[in-house]
Homo-oligomer: 455 residues x 2
């Protein structure tokens, strides 16, 4: 380790306001929304691709980790400087370089906030579909690094589906250009979509060419209330088996509803034990047709009422506020985002309820049901070792259940530090070894966010 030499070199390359080395200044760059806390030796704020290259080259020379970072809103620890090293904050590379409505594209730097992008393209008639709850304060670069999604992925897909090309810096500090500026292109390997979702372990994204989507002409809302979770899961499967794809299909279990009931008394009827919040978009005629079909699909045993909801704004606001509300209930949430094929949701949701009961773990489940993507939150007190043990055992069985239902351990949050130990249960040894070789092709010294994503 020659970290003091590296720090000197960084300080000679960058002005003082763009290299932090004082632990107090570095504090805010030591954690993300996973609540893992591991400080870097320095935080650097590059403004250009060349500056990113310079930092990575120095770190490569000294074999010191460099951990790219957007706004630290990830929930899996992907941007935590676990092994120390340099936190490379892209937050000041925050320019929208061009918006090209005729070709439905925009070119951005990675530090642009998701909401800033939406605000810039909306007046031109477009949106960018990835919409995590953290949209107002997460960066597009972070959205790409984690392949972020959100409620609208059920109709519009995930970050990977909305990027055409990248400029990125590899682990040896080389600048690569991937993809193209057309909606079709098959020249060379698709490194673009490989880098998307690689959690900063393959390359640092310094510029992205995004595909924009025309705003829907109109939007309609529906809600469906159920007496129990499993009947609601059957309705979800029925909705997704008919041809009209909702633009959002969000599920809330009774414990999630109780959080809303506590904050907004009287908003939700007592006998409801599961709720679907459904959005449809398109022309007025399309919305009408889709709504009819979806209301029909909701007619399962256990339905209390399914109806058009003309003003759903407060309900969506409540849904968006759910994640932070969980912090009110228990000192710690073990936050998972498993996904299963939608037809297996009744087994998953029924199974989770049974496991939580067996292990006596408070839990709140909600999420993007149209993708079979459920946020399972086990609420625990780290000061209670018996409870923690039961929670770990419960979680283990939840994962086994998910995999037995042909599911995946993470639909959108990623692996980071949080899910590493469980990866070998989903991906076989041979495929993991190949992924590690691919990483070495991009990052021969293993300095880019080392230790993340792999078991």
């Amino acid at each position: 380790m020659s970290s003091s030499q590296l720090l000197q070199q960084l300080q000679s390359l960058f002005p003082a306001e763009r290299v932090f080395t004082d632990p107090v200044d570095c504090y805010a760059y030591s954690y993300d929304n996973s609540r893992n806390f591991l400080p870097p030796i320095a935080v650097v704020f590059p403004l250009t691709a060349e500056e990113v290259q310079a930092v990575v080259r120095l770190c490569n020379e000294h074999k010191i980790p460099v951990v790219p970072r957007g706004r630290g809103t990830g929930t899996a620890g992907g941007s935590v400087p676990e092994q120390g090293g340099v936190a490379l904050s892209l937050e000041r590379m925050n320019r929208i370089l061009s918006i090209d409505p005729d070709n439905r594209m925009a070119i951005i730097e990675p530090g642009v906030l998701n909401q800033e992008l939406q605000d810039a393209i909306r007046p031109k008639g477009f949106f960018w579909p990835p919409d995590p709850s953290s949209a107002p304060y997460c960066s597009v670069g972070g959205n790409l690094a984690t392949c972020a999604a959100g409620p609208h992925a059920v109709k519009y897909g995930v970050a990977r589906d909305h990027v055409l090309g990248l400029k990125a810096v590899t682990g040896s500090g080389e600048l690569i250009r991937t993809g193209c500026y057309t909606t079709k292109g098959v020249v060379g390997y698709d490194l673009t979509r490989l880098i998307v979702g690689s959690e900063g372990t393959l390359a640092v994204i310094v510029e992205a060419t995004l595909k924009l989507t025309p705003l829907p002409r109109a939007t309609g809302g529906l809600t469906a209330q159920f007496r129990d979770t499993v009947s609601c899961a059957h309705a979800i499967a029925a909705i997704m088996a008919q041809p009209f794809v909702p633009s959002a299909l969000e599920f809330l279990d009774n414990n999630a509803l109780n959080l809303i009931r506590n904050r907004h008394p009287g908003m939700l009827p007592e006998e409801m034990r599961a709720l679907l919040m459904i959005e449809v978009d398109g022309s007025e005629a399309e919305i009408h047709e889709a709504s009819e079909a979806i209301l029909k699909a909701c007619e399962v045993d256990g339905l209390i009422e399914a109806k058009l909801a003309h003003d759903t704004e407060s309900l969506w606001a409540a849904r968006k506020a759910l994640s932070p509300l969980l912090r009110d209930v228990a000192p710690k949430k073990i936050n998972e985002d498993v996904a299963v094929p939608v037809s297996r949701l009744p087994e998953l949701l029924g199974g989770i309820e049974a496991l939580a009961q067996r292990y006596r773990i408070a839990n709140v489940n909600f999420g993007h049901a149209g993708n079979g993507n459920i946020h399972v939150n086990l609420l625990v007190d780290p000061g209670n070792p018996d409870e923690m043990e039961r929670a770990e055992a419960c979680l283990d069985e939840v994962f086994s259940l998910v995999l037995s239902l042909d599911g995946t351990l993470s639909g959108e949050h990623g692996v980071g530090m949080a899910k590493r130990p469980f990866i070998p249960r989903e991906i076989d040894e041979t495929t993991i070894a190949l992924m590690k070789s691919v990483k070495l092709a991009f990052d021969p010294s293993n300095i880019l966010n080392p230790g993340k994503l792999f078991p």
Copy 2:
């Protein structure tokens, strides 16, 4: 080289009807639709993933190339056994393993024909969007290896957008499993979409989990006739700049129209010099709204007439027959499939006309205009060296034009052998070197379709 030993080993592993070594038997496996002809030393027809592994392992041991092959309909030479070695024909791995309408998925072996898949899923209300002209006789495995597209890509995307997971055999003969059985998943690197479009150079696809799309409720047709190519190009850009995305938007230049006129006298008016064939799909109301908007976008200077076309079946059949018709006109076609951002189509199409005139090269241009993807065909006589020289010079300038317009040298055909020399003009040296390292991670001995795709 120990090819005679390899042949013996193959013959001991496979029954005689599944190993061809007689040059006469191997003949049909020596070329594709690029008309490059280079024979393999053997053709092997595996039936299982394990058999594919056995062949690749043997070839790896002897350092002999193995060239995976669907039905040989590619136009870039991707499946031609250029360096000899073993042609690995996947055509007998042709089972549809499962169709899961509730989760909108199907699992197939690579040798299933595109049309067989469509026929199997249509009764259940689905289609698989990639629809190259060769759909009746090309394999889905080949569609994936080349990231095939077709007319409907403008609305529905390309092969890469419609696959969720793969089983594949790497160059060291190892079986890997990529992706997941859910519509969202972020565990590990996205090797699925990296292998798609890699033209058999990274791994041999032995099984694919495909995403199915609900059939549109209805389909409508429109045609728009123009006095000249450039005004037609302006209409294309205007159509793509408004929010209703057509499900197909096909362009034919005057030379393409003349081919149809020769075969179908009286079908097309004489004053027309460019034609758009447009398809819209959705509900009846949606089709009505979209048709209105598109007809309006067609109102450019140079429009002869834009109208609803209630029976377009014969016109689509004529469009589908265009590629083979080119063989009637000249002994050889130099067949390109460049793509540019749609707003640059007027410059591209005007530029190609000017270049063809300057170099006195007969040419026919048509294609998937909604993606800016134009099939440029230079018609030449290989017996005329002067003409061949002019054609090469013309092509060179076409490529320069395409790249100056932020385009790509191939929208859907791929690189194979045909486009290799031009790749360094589109992809920089650093990025090509990285792609080569990625290939070595999958295929350490460089035996999988060696020499293809790279300059």
